[in-house]
């Protein structure tokens, strides 16, 4: 299933991006090549001789929305801009992207190459009523560019995340190794046997995998994410020692994974912190509801994993593996 989900994400992503860009091109979403007229507010009066002005482009929200056929602009646009006259006599406008920039222009600047500014060619200057007419630089292939950037950026992010795990991984694996050598893991395992035997019938109840899984689940409960992942990976390593066929997930691994993806935690710390930051009267009120939600996820997931593992399709994948093992 992962194969199909994975390729679907990619294909849907790329086709949607192409479709949207074609649509943008056809409807001219970004008004490429269409001149826009605005008031230009400066200290000095606009005249033909002055080479450069600093000022603000002022457009009423309604006209801006009408021009781009949007509804996102709420207040009058006051965009700081510099009007320069080149030696050729042509005039240009450069708009620095700032907090004053309307969202639509911010997105356009991002799409035009992630720059901090938007440029425009001045078509005409009306010195009488301080109005200028200008054409913004063309914005094209927005989604395709975004997809390309995302693909490269996320490949990078994946490596950063993985390498970032090295330190905590080493720390916890070291501590676990000491616990293992001291026989502490065995003690812990014995305590939890009644539960783990139900959940992981294929794993011998005195196996080190059990201890690692228990510690992973406990760390998750208390929101110790830094400790939970290394312990979870240790558990996977131990579970893999019981795996008859390398590269294929066993029932126990799938069950363990579902417990983790359900993410049962006693204090959803991230959500509470963000609620507090946004001025909630009772940031912790979601503790109960989150435990209930994650409890539903855990129970639902466990029932699903136990039912799915009986499906002939998934059984066969393990059986084939076992035959190959015998033949090999």
């Amino acid at each position: 299933m992962l194969n199909y989900v994975w390729i679907s994400l990619l294909l849907i992503g790329i086709f949607t991006a192409v479709g949207r860009d074609i649509n943008d091109e056809v409807t001219n979403t970004y008004r490429n090549g269409v001149p826009l007229t605005s008031h230009f507010e400066t200290q000095r009066k606009l005249a033909a001789v002055n080479p450069s002005y600093e000022g603000e482009i002022v457009i009423p929200a309604a006209s801006f929305n009408q021009f781009y056929n949007i509804s996102s602009a709420q207040t009058e646009i006051r965009q700081p801009a510099v009007l320069t006259t080149l030696s050729s006599g042509k005039q240009r406008i450069e708009m620095k992207i700032s907090d004053a920039t309307p969202v639509f222009w911010k997105d356009m600047a991002k799409a035009a190459g992630g720059k901090e500014k938007l440029e425009a060619v001045v078509n005409s200057v009306n010195t009488g009523n301080q109005e200028i007419t200008f054409t913004l630089e063309k914005v094209r292939y927005v989604k395709i560019k975004a997809v390309t950037k995302a693909a490269l950026d996320f490949a990078d992010t994946a490596v950063t995340i993985s390498l970032g795990l090295i330190g905590v991984m080493a720390l916890w694996l070291g501590i676990m190794k000491v616990g293992e050598a001291a026989g502490l893991l065995e003690q812990l395992t014995k305590l939890m046997t009644p539960i783990t035997r139900q959940l992981f019938p294929d794993v011998p109840s005195n196996h080190p995998a059990v201890a690692a899984m228990i510690m992973n689940i406990a760390a998750n409960m208390f929101g110790l994410n830094n400790a939970a992942t290394p312990m979870g990976l240790k558990a996977m390593e131990e579970l893999n020692k019981l795996n008859p066929k390398a590269g294929t997930a066993t029932n126990a691994m799938c069950t363990f994974l579902v417990v983790n993806t359900a993410g049962l935690t006693l204090i959803p710390a991230t959500a509470i912190a963000i609620r507090a930051g946004l001025g909630s009267a009772d940031p912790g009120m979601i503790i109960g509801t989150s435990i209930f939600g994650a409890g539903c996820a855990t129970v639902g997931g466990l029932v699903a994993v136990k039912l799915l593992q009986r499906l002939p399709k998934y059984k066969r994948e393990m059986e084939v593996a076992e035959t190959e093992e015998k033949n090999g």
Partner: protein, 182 residues
Amino acid sequence: MAEIFKSVVNLISAVAIPMFILIFLGWGLIKKVKVYEVFVEGAKDGFNTAVKIIPYLVAMLFAIGVFRASGAMDVVVAILSPLTNLIGMPADVLPLALLRPLSGSGSMGLMTELMKTNGPDSFIGVLASTMFGSSETTFYILAVYFGSVGIKNTRHALPAGLIADFFGMLGAVFIVRMLFSL
């Protein structure tokens, strides 16, 4: 009651790691384990495990990145939104429900956005934060956990994980609706 529970859990969370280190290494000392040598021996595997995850995580994250950057989510939301009304889920939180298993940071941003627009104590605000706390980033966990031991055929783990997410979202909607007596 809720306050006591919260402070107890917070206390345990705060002292858990030092206690854990103390108990494990202390026990090792009592059992005459050469603690330093054994620790270093175990820690050696940290690097290998982290490096082994890289290809799996690259495959997963870049596909999710492409999907999200394309704006395909809007299309999926438009297709699915008639169904959410049936289970009493407001259309506003549907993108969060769909993004939760795909991206941790993405869904966190979306949750924050929903609370900013609707207020953290509004129905949508509470629902969004509950939904965020009711599940984990399934695709990330799948890539990291299976990647670390070189599992390529994940069998029924993904469907089961997504069913778990689905139940988590249903549970969140149910309990928050009850809380607001809707």
